[in-house]
């Protein structure tokens, strides 16, 4: 390739030297305006940086190389998207149930990519050192890429399927989408160093593989070449992001030992926040993919226990330990997808995607993947609900659940070590009582009650009449749902899919 200064007959600078000249060399310490006014958010979190020049640039991309590589990726990706649309690639999915994973993705994940774009813009403005600032800026660009390629991929599905057509609207209003929204609102309202720890490190490095890798492999397995392509194409940026996240952590830890406890607290917080949010992905992997690639438990073991274990062993030299409650999260990997699917099954009349009961074959798969828990705790409930369906009494829970004040998930998770009793925790703040699903969520609230007491909790808002009206019907209208909810069996998606299949069968004779 022709990156800066290659192809020259003159002296060729080595990559590291060239990058130093073209990036580090641009900086000057301002004097007409004091540095702390030019970079006003660099210090208030208490992180001490003595020498920004000690920052190690992991990947030394100059802007011209960035444009070149990214343009090449985009040309390839959009060629696939065009082909997919022209050939109606959606008719080759394994099953229309699969599309519900994409609905959850566009309404729940893509808006987070957008928030990451803006958040890294903030970090890319406020980091007082050139190296991390440029890296954050490139990540801000990348994240814009991700949200837009996702919208453009799903744009085609939106033309045929329910659940996509109001994605930004749903993200800000729908009860379960306040889980991812509050996660990112929390991150971008933190200072630049906490944001980098939250998103760059805890999310990108420790947890993002759990979202993208098995999921995109799953898309490939279910015939969704468009999603596989945007997913893998996004991941090619993600490797750069993961590395940035790790470098930021190492940099803070190396600069001053007083940074260590601050960073550890952030790692604890954001690991738990991320774990709670990824419970949605757990459910997608175990229940929503018609052809499954691996169980959530297997993914957790590969990407957290194994890869995360190696990472934290590496960081132990600085006095950093595994995130608090890591062992609780690992134990929950046996339960979380089943408990989440049960929540959505009950409340699917108020959701932007469809749910269904697993088939016999799928339940056997779940038994095999979760030998210690599925048959014992979860199969009986699904069996009962199946009986109710047979009697024409498909179970919808018409009450409104209590939400955890931190993660905002309905309080349905069980006690560590006791899968038969629901966990409840609470704290008092300014005379009000706040409820939590776990010790992890309670700790987070107790550390920043001023922040978390501000949360826009959907169920509270519904009760206060801020969501379109007093009845379920009013609320659903306010969500702008239009045939997007209820069981898959009665859905427009299924009707259309069955017609396509009938057409296929006619054609193949």
């Amino acid at each position: 390739m022709n990156a800066i200064n290659s192809g020259a007959s003159k002296k060729r600078l080595p990559l590291k030297e060239k990058y130093r000249h073209l990036t580090r060399g641009l900086h000057w310490d301002t004097t007409y305006q004091p540095m702390n006014k030019v970079f006003p958010h660099a210090a208030y979190e208490g992180i001490k940086i003595h020498d920004w020049d000690k920052w190690e640039d992991p990947f030394r991309l100059t802007m011209d190389a960035y444009w070149k590589f990214q343009a090449e990726k985009e040309r390839k990706l959009y060629a696939v998207l065009d082909t997919f649309a022209q050939n109606n690639g959606q008719t080759n999915f394994t099953d229309a149930r699969y599309v519900n994973t994409m609905k959850l993705f566009l309404t729940g994940v893509s808006p987070l990519e957008y928030m990451a774009h803006r958040g890294f813009g903030h970090a890319g403005r406020q980091m007082a050192g050139v190296g991390p600032r440029v890296a954050c800026q490139m990540q801000s660009l990348d994240e814009l890429r991700h949200v837009q390629t996702q919208i453009h991929t799903m744009s085609h599905l939106n033309k045929y399927f329910s659940g996509f057509h109001e994605f930004p609207h749903l993200h800000s209003r729908m009860w379960y989408l306040s889980v991812p929204k509050s996660f990112f609102d929390d991150a971008v309202t933190a200072g630049p160093f906490e944001f980098m720890t939250a998103i760059g490190f805890s999310f990108e490095y420790v947890l993002t593989n759990l979202l993208f890798v098995p999921f995109m492999s799953g898309a490939a397995y279910n015939g969704d070449m468009a999603t596989m392509t945007f997913g893998f194409s996004a991941q090619s940026d993600e490797a750069r992001h993961m590395t940035l996240g790790l470098e930021v952590i190492k940099f803070m830890l190396e600069q001053d030992e007083q940074n260590v406890p601050i960073v550890q607290k952030w790692i604890d917080k954001w690991f738990w926040r991320g774990h709670r949010m990824l419970g949605l992905v757990a459910m997608m992997m175990d229940y929503m993919l018609p052809k499954r690639i691996m169980s959530w438990k297997e993914a957790w073991s590969m990407y957290f226990t194994e890869a995360g274990g190696a990472l934290f062993a590496d960081l132990a030299r600085y006095g950093i330990r595994l995130p608090k409650y890591a062992e609780v999260a690992t134990a929950e990997a046996d339960h979380i997808s089943h408990q989440n699917w049960a929540i959505f099954y009950q409340y699917t009349h108020a959701a932007g995607f469809h749910t269904w009961l697993p088939s016999d074959e799928e339940m056997d798969w779940l038994s095999a993947k979760y030998p210690d828990t599925f048959d014992k705790y979860y199969r009986p409930r699904f069996d009962l609900w199946r009986e109710m369906e047979k009697e024409g009494k498909r179970f919808y829970n018409m009450g409104l659940p209590q939400l955890c004040s931190t993660c905002q998930i309905p309080m349905g998770y069980t006690e560590p070590g006791d899968p038969t009793s629901i966990a409840f925790r609470s704290s008092k703040y300014n005379g009000d009582t706040y409820h939590f699903c776990s010790d992890g969520c309670k700790d987070i609230f107790d550390n920043e009650p001023e922040k978390f007491s501000q949360a826009w909790l959907p169920v509270h808002q519904i009760f206060q009449g801020n969501c379109g009206g007093a009845t379920m019907e009013d609320v659903l209208k306010w969500y702008k749902l239009d045939g997007d909810n209820m069981d898959y069996a009665q859905s427009l998606d299924k009707k259309m899919w069955d017609e396509w299949q009938a057409g296929k069968n006619r054609v193949s004779g």
């Binding site: 192809g7 020259a8 003159k10 002296k11 060729r12 600078l13 000249h21 073209l22 060399g25 641009l26 000057w28 004097t31 007409y32 305006q33 100059t62 011209d64 960035y66 444009w67 070149k68 990214q70 985009e74 808006p111 957008y114 803006r118 813009g121 903030h122 890319g124 403005r125 600032r133 800026q137 490139m138 801000s140 660009l141 814009l144 890429r145 837009q148 919208i151 453009h152 744009s155 033309k159 045929y160 109001e166 930004p168 993200h171 509050s182 929390d186 971008v188 309202t189 933190a190 200072g191 922040k451 949360a455 826009w456 427009l492 259309m496 017609e499 396509w500 057409g503 296929k504 006619r506």
Partner: protein, 331 residues
């Protein structure tokens, strides 16, 4: 099994997303720019306020004194979303790459009057720091701005200015045969040498402007209009008379970029001014302030590049910018 599209009907239920259809009043097919831009930024139900400034919501229209009926009126006439932006820049850079190759392989700089090359080294190369300031200003707007239409374009401008800073650095590397000596001292000269101080003060003052729309206008219209107008619009073409064509070749990216960027910022300012007389007056005031400051600040640089022709060249640059401002309704 492949599906025979002729024999089964694959009927569309809708053409585009609900928010796009409502915006245009009809469900019609939408462009990738539209779907990737409109209403992508959240506007309601923010959970927490920024810990560094709880006066504002996460995204807040009150971070500027400009008021807009619709923030998505500030569209980018280039219709850049991520893919089209990067593909456009990669194509532009490929062309300038060939120019650098030509200049370097054929030793074209040997044909240029050494006095002109000395001026390039003396004045133009340190201006990479000016671009770096512009990068920071636009990074700020990427977060502080309101609505994806303006913030994504600011993000692209942020990347552009890093690219320009690096391109100018590369011109330096070509001048010094790749040993980096032309770049080593630029920061010290930018902070120490008298002729840069006026401009550096303007740059540092732009870095602390509270109102993001004022920063947007100051940097990308008023100060760029004067600085780039002088350096790339007037001085570099004038240098061709001193055999400076190879330098012009290396600056070709910047020339093309100026046209591209002007389309964007002109469209934005025009739309904002059109929205209300209050906006137009506000923008006009900002324009006047920053244009006057820039014009004063670049005088020693104009003299450093153009000697006796400096005053008339600057007057011409200012007149052209004023005419542009008048066309946009912010004069």
């Amino acid at each position: 099994m492949q599906l025979d599209l002729k024999t089964i009907e694959v009927k569309q239920r809708r053409q585009t997303f609900g928010h796009i259809a409502r915006r245009f009043g009809t469900d019609r097919p939408a462009s990738r720019y539209e779907e990737g831009t409109y209403d992508v930024q959240a506007v309601e139900h923010f959970h927490y306020r920024p810990t560094w400034d709880p006066r504002f919501q996460i995204f807040d229209p009150n971070k500027t004194r400009v008021k807009m009926t619709d923030w998505y009126a500030l569209t980018d006439v280039r219709q850049y979303y991520y893919a089209t932006y990067n593909i456009a820049r990669a194509r532009m850079y490929e062309a300038v790459e060939r120019n650098f190759d030509l200049v370097e392989r054929a030793n074209l700089l040997d044909t240029v009057d050494p006095k002109w090359l000395a001026k390039i080294r003396d004045v133009l190369v340190p201006l990479r720091h000016y671009e770096w300031g512009a990068n920071i200003v636009n990074a700020g707007i990427t977060y502080d701005g309101y609505g994806t239409a303006i913030t994504q374009a600011a993000c692209f401008a942020m990347a552009d200015r890093l690219g320009l800073a690096q391109l100018i650095s590369r011109i330096g590397l070509t001048l010094d045969n790749g040993d980096g000596t032309s770049l080593d001292g630029t920061a010290a000269r930018w902070t120490g040498e008298a002729k840069f101080q006026g401009l550096r003060r303007v740059v540092e003052d732009m870095l602390v402007v509270d109102d993001w729309f004022e920063a947007l206008l100051a940097q990308n219209f008023a100060v760029d209009g004067i600085v780039h107008g002088l350096v790339y619009g007037a001085a570099i073409p004038a240098g061709n008379a001193l055999g400076g064509t190879p330098v012009s070749l290396m600056c070709e990216f910047i020339a093309e970029w100026r046209t591209d960027s002007a389309k964007w910022i002109d469209g934005v300012l025009k739309a904002a001014a059109k929205d209300s007389p209050e906006n137009a007056a506000l923008l006009a005031g900002w324009y006047r302030t920053w244009r006057d400051r820039a014009l004063e600040a670049v005088k020693p640089l104009a003299e450093g590049l153009m000697d006796g022709a400096a005053a008339s060249a600057l007057a011409e640059v200012a007149a052209q910018l004023d005419a542009r401002a008048a066309r946009l309704g912010i004069a």
